[in-house]
């Protein structure tokens, strides 16, 4: 990114803009979901924006990220166009994935975002493969994979850590510990001292950070990404945060104690970043301007998405495979 001193207010203001953009996108996406404009499931990143933001700002355009089901924030932070993303959510022409994927299958290869994923942990095994491709081609790019705390109980998570270490791949694993796995408190299904201890068991350098503090995430990510890029091999970043919203937009969160959400929301990253900026001499008006321009940009994206047409039905048959693609319905009815 820029070469400004790591926590220079100007730099953090830039991160604040990204946080606001993600927050605005998620809030509007939820409104559109409630309005029936979006099908399927929408997993909100609200309250976790500082992680994707603080990590991706230290990545290059040529670096790859692999995301999961909660990928809107990762995509925006890596540089995907929110308008194309909103079109994808609404299933319109111009969507990032041609309206074939929806919220859980957003990808933008033009900015190195190799895809959200509807299957937990698969981004990890694909991530080490992408890193192997980089090594084979002799590029100096690196890979970052985002994984949730609950997903650290799936076997492929471990296989990928072991694999990354054996081949000394240029990859960073970012565990977003929002303390929930769907309606389950992750602690209740996770043995031992957690993600960092598990990564260390493979000899992988692993570090904890307050995931709601974008300044801290930015600082640690810059350090670890520098090491990975410098040939230091795989590193593991464990960010503590909190899933402010339901698991998906429909989620009533009956499993959560009254008041917990409100209590934890006091710690949310957007407000904390704004406070930091003012405390570090940034004019509150400028902070407000940043926030407003983010919402304005997302509102425009929503309008553009609403105005965009639905794709032709016939496009369903495109991009399946070169050999033996599907045949459309015959007038007689049956698929061939």
């Amino acid at each position: 990114m820029s070469d400004t001193r790591q926590n220079a207010p100007a730099r953090i203001l830039g991160l604040f803009e990204t946080i606001c953009l993600i927050r605005a996108f998620e809030e509007r996406a939820e409104e559109c979901f409630d309005a029936g404009l979006i099908n399927g499931s929408v997993h909100q990143y609200i309250g976790e924006e500082a992680i994707g933001t603080g990590v991706c700002t230290n990545l290059r355009h040529s670096d790859y990220i692999l995301s999961n089901h909660r990928g809107h924030g990762h995509s925006i932070a890596k540089g995907a166009d929110p308008e194309a993303m909103m079109k994808e959510l609404m299933g319109r022409v111009g969507g990032t994935s041609g309206a074939k994927g929806g919220s859980m299958h957003i990808a933008d290869f033009s900015v190195g975002m190799l895809g959200a994923n509807g299957v937990l942990a698969d981004g990890l095994t694909m991530g080490v493969g992408a890193a192997q491709a980089i090594a084979l081609k002799g590029e100096d790019a690196i890979v970052t994979v985002f994984v949730g705390d609950g997903t650290t109980n799936r076997g492929p998570f471990y296989e990928a850590l072991n694999w990354a270490m054996i081949y000394e791949l240029p990859i960073m694993f970012v565990c977003e510990n929002n303390q929930y796995a769907s309606s389950t408190v992750t602690r209740t299904i996770t043995a031992g001292d957690g993600p960092t201890a598990r990564a260390k068991a493979f000899g992988m350098p692993a570090f904890d950070v307050d995931g709601n503090d974008v300044v801290a995430v930015d600082e640690l990510a810059a350090d670890l990404i520098g090491r990975v890029r410098g040939g230091g091999g795989p590193h593991f970043l464990h960010a503590r945060t909190y899933r402010v919203k339901g698991h998906i937009s429909r989620d009533k969160m009956l499993y959560r104690p009254d008041g917990e959400t409100e209590e934890r929301f006091k710690d949310e990253p957007l407000g904390r970043c704004a406070t930091w900026l003012v405390a570090n001499g940034v004019d509150p008006a400028e902070v407000e301007r940043a926030r407003n321009s983010a919402y304005a940009r997302i509102d425009a994206a929503v309008e553009a998405a609403k105005a965009a047409p639905f794709p032709d039905a016939g496009l369903a048959y495109a991009d399946v495979q070169d050999f033996g693609p599907p045949e459309p319905w015959s007038p007689a009815g049956g698929a061939p």
Partner: protein, 328 residues
Amino acid sequence: MTEMTFADAVREGLAEEMRRDPLVWALGEDLSTAHGGTSANQYLGLIDEFGPKRIVNTPISENTIMGAAVGAAVAGTRPVADLRMADFAMCAVDELVNQAAKIRYMFGGQARVPLVVRQAIGMRKGGAAQHSQSTEAWYVHTPGLVVVAPATPADGRGLLKSAIRADDPVVYMEHKDLWMASGEVPDDEGLVPIGQARTLRTGTDLTIVSWSKMALLADEAAQTLADEDGVSAEVIDLRTLWPWDRKAVYASVRKTGRLLVAQESVQVGGFGAEIATDVTEHCPDALATHVRRIGAPRMPVPYAEPMENEFRVTPARIVAKARESLGA
């Protein structure tokens, strides 16, 4: 009879079996939380009655959900493993196919593997490629497995109960779009025998065979054929895919002389091809025209509605295919 949703009826059936037999238990992600299974609250409240040893809230560990069910079945209990969706169940195909399906045989009959594995199938609006698949054809092709795919609340409850009592591993496939659909459920035990089809509608001109949600769409199509063409179509809901009720299908085909198999899943290599081939082999003289089948194009399920509809086998498309058979 009591009116209830598919999800409620199946939960009732599970609770009844758990009361009847203390060795019956369930495991899966989010089963014991206040949502009782996130998809359709299929386990709501069971934790209060049966406690955490019998309603087991598991880590996100599909291999172990399935593998533990196999080990627990072999060790004398009757687990009901919930893998949530057939798409995620792909993470545990090895434990199901290499272990559950083969252990009784490989070990020369020393052990039984009395387990049920629940895998929701089918499209749900906007589900897209990784949350919509119907993989029944894989498991029908797998020796050792029983496969059921009920379409109504009564069958959902009755077949789950029979599956739990069976000593074979049973793949129980419930359609996501059916969870909230309501229907009459008998107040008695209401067991539905494995391997027995149900005739949704009797007819004389054409037999339509289907299963799961598609059986209900087939019945809609039959109504249209009656209204618009004056055609009398017989609609058979197989309910069990292995062993499927060949007797019932043969009898119907011998009566109507025409057969159409309708499935939601991808047509190429689907279970419909097995039915078509088997009936052609066993009732060659009864067929007035070759068997027709209808299924989805061989493509992943797309997201945006206009494209998504191209994947759907609709009543209108079934009607068109039926007319092709009737016109031949």
